[in-house]
Symmetry: C2
Subunit: 325 residues, 2 copies
DNA sequence: GTGAAAGCGCTAACAT
DNA sequence: ATGTTAGCGCTTTCAC
């Protein structure tokens, strides 16, 4: 293990000087710098983050909380986050919050002195000891009601979706919300529809907003079950908004299993635009979220200096038309 | 920040004693233990892994190398790995090796003094400075030709698949291998077929083993492209082995787009048994890998004491029959 | 411009 | 059975 000390000795300077050339801060004579750089290369020095982090009382780890590593939307985000974090010399690690067992995860996070936490999980965690994190200088995103946040603005995506639906002559969409009913009413997509349905010649029927138990149950199963339930209920509907593409995958199957043709009899719209939504049968029309922007925003909110408590990043959406409408 | 010192003071003992009750090693009088435990709880002590790791010259981080966080098979493994690692007080972090740029990732790993590396990426990394890792006591799995390894044994899965195919009256399967051609011949599935085709009344035609450029291109696209190419080539085939379920997803779409009915005209078999393969159209029959066992094996090989260089864990497979054969 | 030195919080070897 | 102490490798303040 090559230490700073080793480098300093070889270069004939002190560790402080080595530190200066490494960090780029402070004065170093050109001559000393050259010698240090030579030594750095010759010895193949690599700094020990463990030590650096201990000294700085903070690690270079961004924790991302998800309830499920198999949710492809999260993985899209995670992928972009590790990429962006890397540019800033940080690594991201995923923590699975199974069964809402936040408590134990929180322990982990504290022990490992992560530098920030991004909560991707649906539920507001029990961050009641929230202050502990603040005391430690750990930034929290989407963890508590207050603090910096990133929100996805579905306005444009929804508007385009409604235009598209209208063009297809649809007027009674059902919503496969999937999440628990106390969360659903706040959903921006549902709300946008409720407030603008008339404008597009559609009707809003609260009975057609179906809730489920995601994330306890996998999204595609929720989609399937909800859609089947909807069909069996006999309530009329001519189109389907699914809160996620994976739910749409389930819905598509349910529709197929019950002999309802898509898009002839019913139009289906997903949300997320996963990398393989175009491979659904039929290819799914979906509201795409700018996932890269979302991911970058998370990382920036954790790492950047000029972030304040009210900081809010808005992420855009747009419709990707394929063949399910 | 509550330190061991704080706890020791409150309990009226030394830090060493606190250390002993925490680690469970060494003698502590019942009375002292009680006082320490009280203090631990009252102060809500949480050990600083940064410091512990520095001292032990090793972190509690298992690095997992993947080329793509969007590969659901990896995510199945990752999920089980974080779960198992957690039981052993470790965390796993995923490193994306884009464009085979292993070098920079290796830097990261060294800097962060991870305690072990599991290489899930297809290609054998350029671990030429391999020794550096060994010197640091970092365990490597699937990174080099030697060392402990876990291998997936496709024998049972393949045998069951061939029985199933035979029953369906198929005899000329094509293989969508997807990976580059210098890797494909070593594939255990292809080899098993080659060596046993006759037994099941099938013919092995090397022309029907199609290679591609995964992981540079997403698996479902590779599957689509390869399958289309196969169809256009006019070479006769009545069934399709796909190396992964995601490739099968692409193949299914290509087949559909070209009016070939599955399973009437051609049988399709995937491999992996992802959580949503049952939702493909039609539901995919696939060779399931015991992913949990695989994941646990990786973690154990990194963390357990009694692991030697030749250690090899075998992972089983079996066929999951759905409707694509 | 450069160096010396004081810890960060923990573990473990050694002493009592 | 319990306490003392010497670092792990780094950063950073302060003195020269």
């Amino acid at each position: 293990m090559v230490t700073k000390q080793d480098v300093a000795e070889r270069a004939g300077v002190s560790t402080a000087t080595v530190g200066r050339v490494l960090s780029g801060k402070g004065y170093v004579s050109a001559e000393a710098r050259a010698r240090v750089e030579e030594a750095l290369k010759a010895l193949n020095y690599r700094r020990n983050n463990l030590a650096a982090n201990l000294r700085k009382k903070k690690s270079n780890v961004i924790a991302v909380l998800v309830e499920d590593l198999l949710n492809p939307y999260y993985m899209h985000l995670a992928e972009a986050m590790v990429e962006h974090a890397k540019e800033k010399n940080c690594i991201v690690t995923l923590f699975a919050v199974k069964d809402r067992d936040v408590r134990r995860v929180l322990d982990d996070l504290l022990s490992n002195r992560v530098c920030g936490i991004v909560n991707l999980a649906m539920f507001t965690c029990d961050f009641s000891w929230y202050d502990i994190f603040l005391e430690e200088g750990i930034r929290l995103i989407n963890c508590t009601a207050t603090g910096p946040k990133v929100i996805v603005d579905y306005t444009q995506g929804m508007r385009q979706a409604m235009v598209s639906l209208q063009r297809a002559g649809r007027s009674r969409p059902a919503f496969l919300a999937g999440i628990e009913s106390w969360l659903a009413p706040n959903d921006l997509r549902v709300r946008f529809f409720r407030e603008n349905a008339e404008k597009y010649g559609m009707t809003y029927d609260p009975e057609l907003v179906l809730c489920g138990s995601y994330p306890l149950v996998k999204a595609h199963h929720v989609g399937y079950d909800l859609c089947r339930e909807l069909i069996r209920s006999g309530k009329p509907f001519d189109s389907l908004f699914c809160m996620t593409d994976m739910m749409a995958l389930g819905a598509l199957k349910a529709l197929f299993d019950h002999g309802r043709s898509v898009p002839r009899e019913v139009s289906v719209i997903g949300c997320d635009d996963l990398d393989f939504t175009g491979f659904f049968q039929p290819a799914l029309t979906t509201i795409a979220v700018d996932k890269r922007a979302e991911a970058y925003a998370y990382v920036d909110l954790i790492l950047d200096d000029d972030v304040n408590e009210q900081d809010t990043r808005i992420i855009g959406t747009h419709l990707v038309e394929r063949s399910s409408i």
